[in-house]
Symmetry: C2
Subunit: 534 residues, 2 copies
């Protein structure tokens, strides 16, 4: 038990004492029970005979490793990551060998592998991890995932996931109520991420207007045109390629300086498409773009969609969480006019990965679009009400249980708890925005406080350079250099990217419930420290 | 601590004693720390100040619930399920209320909710659960999932999932070696289930032959025809609908009495399609059909694919696991000639859900087909070798870490351990087949021992009836009735379905490592007991 942490030492030494009641030294249980000749499968874990004891011991050792990791994750004196290059990890780190072999390893080695996997990973729950839209580690959500893995079932039928299927239905209804659809009517499903949820929206829209495509293919439809912001998520483009529309038939819409779609540009492009004889079919309005955090004007876009009979999808993968906040939900005004909405609780709401919903206003479309009525799975002659067998609505067959952790967090926090979390995140963004907007060495990409704060850090050596090609080229290299140093020192992580004609800038997003103002301060000071001499 | 089990009583009472070291009675920690006014988010779990202690305590209580569930799952005296109808669960069961509310619940209630969620669910790891292709609960795999949830990261970049990205690459290479592609060259990705893996195969095939569809849509291609067995998985049909081919352009192939594609039928249909001016593009050969467990003759199909320049996909979602067995892998002879292979370790190999791979022989196609080069995620100017950022190959953006549990199980079992597991499963199938093939009251759907054993139980009242409409109609109702009684008594679970003109029959599949001959005996006796008086 070399890896016991001081904090839990009390718990675990008691635990070990009680394991002694089993009257076998653990070394023996973990090492000697492996008898290659008879049991090449190795180890006496369940379902092996007398497997209870080693199983419980093994799982408790795993839990020791995990709880130790969790405590350190929330401790600011721990690094966010211990960076190594791919070739270093591939060559093997002191006893950590990624290669798979023919023969089993001992459970002792498995425990070491688990520790090392965590050691060389990235602590996405660390208070100073700001790198992605999904950050943080909610303890109740985590418990929910542990239970989900233990239940190890599949969402396709009520038969094998009765409780989870009902939880999904109730939670989707609640989400639809929050969107503002009357009585929460409509449909929906949890999917493996926002990209797939967005793909669903395009499929359903096509089915609504051209149901014959399901059987006859795209040849049965005229040339169909999709519209989305030039700042929108690349999954809309992926969907247009995958589903047979072609990326050239996805028209990108111009945005204002703040990254919001300009409705007049949409209307002009719709008219232009119609003049060519094409059929404008689908518009995606983004609620919270990936880089700027922009909210497209849904009401004005909805007016145009109604006028030209187009499907309106709102991609609220990132910004959908704002619907939980009475203070901030106005950013999505008009969302109830959407035909479908993507909303990822695993982003701003802090639910563990993955948890994404596609919500549809009209009931029956999901089913109509995707059902194939496989007799071996969706038997009509079961003893219970088979309308609860919702699997045939999905493009998946087996479907991971993504609902439970979300449902459990909702129980534990209440709607008000999610609201407070969203409000906190936006307060911190405002704090950051106000902190740096006039700070020497910082330049904002746009001026408006919001979910995302985008900025350049200008090292002293560039501050006196006039705007022009040289300054731009040098500035473009600043964020990647600072990011690389951050990762190598392991102190914090934040994303950067170029956008359009704007050279690399930092994009700061806050969804981490562990982050505080002091962490924001730390990030800014760290950027200054690392970037000062560039 | 009402729910302590006798076995773990020793451990947990010691645990509770050591928690007392924290000098706060647990009731106080769990109940009184909730102060609605200041902390509507509820509870003092991390990242709350002084949150370590309640966090550790809460997680250990969760682990107590889960380990107790695990032990009972492997105990044959425990029921497989405690069946309730949807309306019963929706109405609420003694303190278990599925509705979400605005205000938070206490952590005590959260623990109760977790217990109840498991109580009203289905024990898919129970030795007598045979209902799906995915059964069993591997302890090392489970530990891997717990760690995965704790790491809570995303597969799109090396930057935030360095270890997992490398594990995925090494494991996919190993799988390609086992398929038999030279040096394990090629490509692949883990996807959210076999249906999506199959969808990938169709997309990639289309990209290989008609890359312009990515940008111009299906209009840029001639009428493309796909072929698959009439017994194949419905996901091929779902893919043909979703991707814009149309289900009418998916031609179903006739099968022999054993459910295997008849190669001559494929060739005839290819020629017929060509004569109409269509382009035969893609053939799916199934290695292990869902109902019969049939293996299509891959070599003969590959000959036809080569002759007519078609993509050959092998859907080994179910049967792919046989590749691990030197004794049984001959069933997939010719698989190395496939252009792509679906292989779900979460089925016969017993990896927890979900874990499905799509493997592709030609490198670069996955990337070419799906990449959209989103600058905010896949920056080319990072400090490490960005060829390890594999996310742009996927149709997903965020992607759940499905690799770790599989990698960890492979470490713990070795290749030989998987082989032994597969051999055991097939031995048990053979045992069942031989047990009932001449048993009174049983009739085989086909005669050949294999992964799947399909049979009718004929109650005494039907045994003397001549074959004909009445017998068929009555027999059709037997399996559903027995299944309903099984579920209500909770003793075991097995699937049934009709197939073609065959009325409802039982489909027995064995992937559960906990199952033994005595469980097979139990199943048969239970069917006889429940069905005797029908």
């Amino acid at each position: 038990m070399k890896h016991i942490d001081s904090f839990l030492g009390g718990i675990y030494s008691s635990l070990v004492n009680s394991l002694m009641l089993f009257e076998k030294p653990r070394k023996e249980i973990f090492k000697s029970n492996y008898q290659p000749a008879e049991r090449p499968r190795g180890h006496n874990l369940l379902p092996a005979k007398n497997g209870e004891e080693p199983t419980m011991q093994f799982l408790l050792e795993i839990v020791e490793i995990l709880t130790s990791y969790i405590r350190k994750t929330f401790d600011r004196s721990t690094k966010v990551l211990d960076f190594h290059h791919p070739h270093q990890l591939l060559e093997g780190m002191e006893g950590f060998n990624l290669e798979l072999s023919d023969q089993p390893e001992s459970l002792e080695q498995i425990l070491v592998d688990c520790r090392d996997t965590l050691k060389y990973g990235v602590r996405t729950g660390h208070p100073r991890f700001f790198n992605q839209l999904s950050t943080g580690l909610d303890i109740v959500g985590l418990a929910g995932e542990w239970l989900t893995s233990t239940a190890n079932t599949n969402m396709f039928t009520y038969e094998i996931a009765p409780v989870f299927v009902l939880m999904e239905q109730l939670t989707l209804k609640k989400m639809r109520e929050i969107i503002g659809w009357p009585n929460g009517e409509g449909d929906g499903i949890f999917s493996p991420g926002g990209a797939i949820s967005n793909m669903y929206s395009v499929m359903i829209a096509r089915y609504k207007f051209f149901p014959e495509v399901k059987t006859k293919g795209m040849a049965a439809a005229p040339r169909l045109i999709l519209f989305t912001s030039e700042h929108s998520h690349y999954s809309i483009k992926k969907a247009s390629a995958a589903l047979g529309f072609g990326t050239e038939n996805l028209i990108l819409l111009n945005t204002d300086e703040r990254g919001r779609v300009i409705p007049a540009d949409l209307e002009a492009k719709v008219i232009a498409a119609k003049q060519k004889g094409y059929v404008p079919m689908y518009v995606n309005a983004t609620a919270g773009t990936t880089v700027y955090g922009a909210f497209d004007p849904i009401n004005e876009i909805a007016d145009i969609c109604e006028k030209y009979n187009m499907w309106l999808h709102v991609d609220g993968a990132w910004g959908g969480g704002l619907l939980m906040s009475r203070k901030h939900r106005y950013k999505l005004n008009g969302v109830q006019r959407a035909n479908s909405v993507t909303w990822n609780p695993h982003k701003m709401m802090g639910v563990p990965l993955q948890c994404s919903a596609i919500l549809v206003r009209e009931r029956g479309l999901l089913q109509g679009c995707n059902s194939m009525c496989a007799g071996y799975l969706f038997q009509p002659d079961k003893q219970y009400d088979v309308t609860y067998d919702t699997g045939d609505k999905a493009i998946q067959c087996g479907r991971h249980v993504d609902i439970f952790k979300f449902w459990l967090m909702w129980k534990a926090k209440g709607t008000v708890g999610f609201e407070q979390h969203i409000d906190n995140c936006l307060d911190l963004s405002a704090y950051l925005y106000n902190k740096i907007k006039n700070r020497e060495g910082f330049e904002m990409v746009f001026n408006e406080e919001h979910t995302n704060v985008c900025f350049w850090y200008i090292p002293p050596s560039l501050r006196s350079l006039p705007d022009g090609r040289e300054r731009r080229e040098r500035l473009h290299k600043v964020a990647p250099k600072i990011k690389a140093m951050m990762m190598e020192s392991g102190t914090t992580m934040v994303g950067y990217q170029p956008q359009g004609d704007k050279v690399n800038f930092f994009r700061m997003v806050i969804s981490n419930p562990a982050a505080t103002r002091s962490d924001i301060d730390f990030l800014i000071e760290e950027i200054e420290r690392l970037g000062h001499d560039l």
